[in-house]
């Protein structure tokens, strides 16, 4: 099959970017989207052009490295599918595809389609954990977790940290990402002691990173390759309100759970 690509090319963070058009022929419908870009990159290298930079690693939809906006949809048109798992047969022959990086102030472009998602790591560092010093753990079955809670926690824990939620949000908000981690840990008994500090710390960091505010469009959920529900955002909000009411001082300090 044939496709026409318009790829965002930006040589560096401070440099201006433009869409560059590439016409591809002989694209196999069995190729993954990234394999199609691989082929294009081989062609670019062969004619001494700079290949397109894009993040990718596991190519099986779990590491969260890949991600680009394809025709206005993060990870492309298929629901519950990362870019690496998207195959060219999802597109009609002769398709015209506009490919852009995630766009958010908190995710600055490094080069072409590669963005810096360090903000997500810093949010986790601000409280997205359970403090359990190695060696101090009690016998695993001494803690009972109702199956329903464990299953729901797993739904939230499925987040791969790809950033599609931010990319899809009209406000570039990171609420779904934060909500997923807050809910995962908050649903488990192990997560209770730090529950208030965690949510306050993570939300404070999220705000500091310059993400936008959630206005409940639900686009994040639609773009999420793991289909994480925005119900978790409601849960995050409830936890946050509770924490603010019960631990107002932690809000003032904004000191998450990093209490070494």
């Amino acid at each position: 099959m044939r496709v026409t690509l318009h790829v965002w090319r930006q040589p560096g963070p401070e440099l201006a970017g433009v869409f560059v058009r590439y016409d591809m022929t002989d694209v196999s419908p069995d190729m993954s989207f990234l394999e199609m870009l691989d082929v294009l990159n081989q062609q670019l290298l062969a004619r001494q052009d700079d290949p397109i930079a894009f993040d990718h690693d596991c190519r099986e939809g779990i590491c969260g490295a890949c991600g680009m906006v394809i025709n206005g949809r993060p990870h492309g048109p298929r629901r519950a599918t990362t870019t690496c798992q998207l195959h060219m047969r999802s597109f009609p022959d002769g398709a015209e595809l506009w490919i852009e990086p995630w766009r958010a102030r908190a995710f600055p472009v490094i080069k072409d389609l590669v963005v810096d998602r360090g903000a997500f790591d810093r949010i986790i560092q601000a409280g997205g954990f359970i403090t359990a010093r190695t060696g101090s753990a009690p016998e695993a079955n001494s803690l009972l977790v109702p199956k329903a809670d464990a299953d729901l926690a797993m739904d939230a824990a499925a987040c791969i940290g790809c950033g599609a939620c931010v990319a899809a949000c009209p406000n570039a908000s990171a609420m779904l990402f934060v909500a997923a981690k807050v809910s995962h840990l908050g649903l488990l008994p192990q997560g209770q002691p730090e529950r208030a500090a965690r949510v306050v710390g993570m939300v404070a960091q999220m705000d500091a990173e310059g993400f936008g505010a959630c206005s409940n469009h639900g686009e994040c959920m639609a773009a999420c390759p793991k289909e994480i529900s925005i119900d978790f955002i409601a849960r995050l909000n409830r936890d946050y309100l509770k924490a603010v009411v019960s631990h107002p001082s932690s809000v003032v300090r904004g000191d998450g759970g990093s209490n070494g």
Partner: protein
């Protein structure tokens, strides 16, 4: 946003309940309008509570607008370079029109106050004769049309607003969690529909 929204929502509901007394006839409606001023007596003086309510409302409106402007600006800041195109998938028309809808509602409220409270744009305005003022104004086609249109906008605003508030206030506990969309839609339709019934009734000649 959610807290001020809830206050305004309660006002919209209260206002509607009052308005619907118009179907009980001129006397009941005018008595209700007068009653708003004497409510709370003898503890409160005439109009005191009404003014307190007005102050709360004005503050809520201003805070609501301020919050809206702040979140809008935060959103714009959060995405300095915009997409060539971002394809909406999940979001609703109501959600996408919150900002402009809000502006339209403000514009309409101003007109509405000029019409019914201050009587500036109502040629046959009679202070105190509330029933007459309403019917006289809404009998004019374009005025009724504007009223209806504004209520549709309000309905959309309420639909996303209610859903949003339930989300923001974290009210998603089972078993009601799954009904939030439906509940929000039902409330919005009910309120907008009830408001719209008034101009429709006037135009249909049921209220004269």
């Amino acid at each position: 946003m959610a807290v001020t929204g809830v206050i305004l929502f309660l006002f919209v509901v209260a206002h509607l309940l009052g308005n619907l007394k118009i179907f009980e006839g001129p006397a009941a409606f005018d008595a209700y309008a007068e009653g708003l001023r004497t409510v709370g007596a003898p503890f409160f003086g005439r109009g005191w509570l009404l003014w307190i309510a007005r102050v709360v409302l004005i503050v809520a409106v201003l805070a609501h607008m301020w919050a809206a402007i702040e979140t809008t600006r935060a959103s714009w800041r959060a995405r300095p370079v915009s997409y060539r195109r971002l394809e909406p998938v999940e979001t609703t028309y109501a959600a996408r029109t919150m900002r402009w809808g809000g502006v339209l509602i403000v514009v309409y409220v101003i007109y509405h106050l000029l019409d019914f409270t201050f009587g500036r744009v109502n040629p046959s305005f009679v202070p105190g004769d509330v029933y007459h003022n309403v019917v006289a104004s809404l009998r004019v086609g374009p005025v009724a049309a504007a009223y209806i249109a504004a209520m549709v906008v309000l309905g959309l605003h309420l639909y996303h607003g209610t859903w949003s508030a339930l989300q923001t206030l974290g009210l998603n506990r089972p078993p009601t969690g799954g009904w939030r969309r439906g509940v929000a839609a039902a409330i919005a339709v009910l309120i907008a529909g009830a408001y719209i019934s008034i101009p429709v009734a006037v135009l249909a000649g049921m209220l004269r």
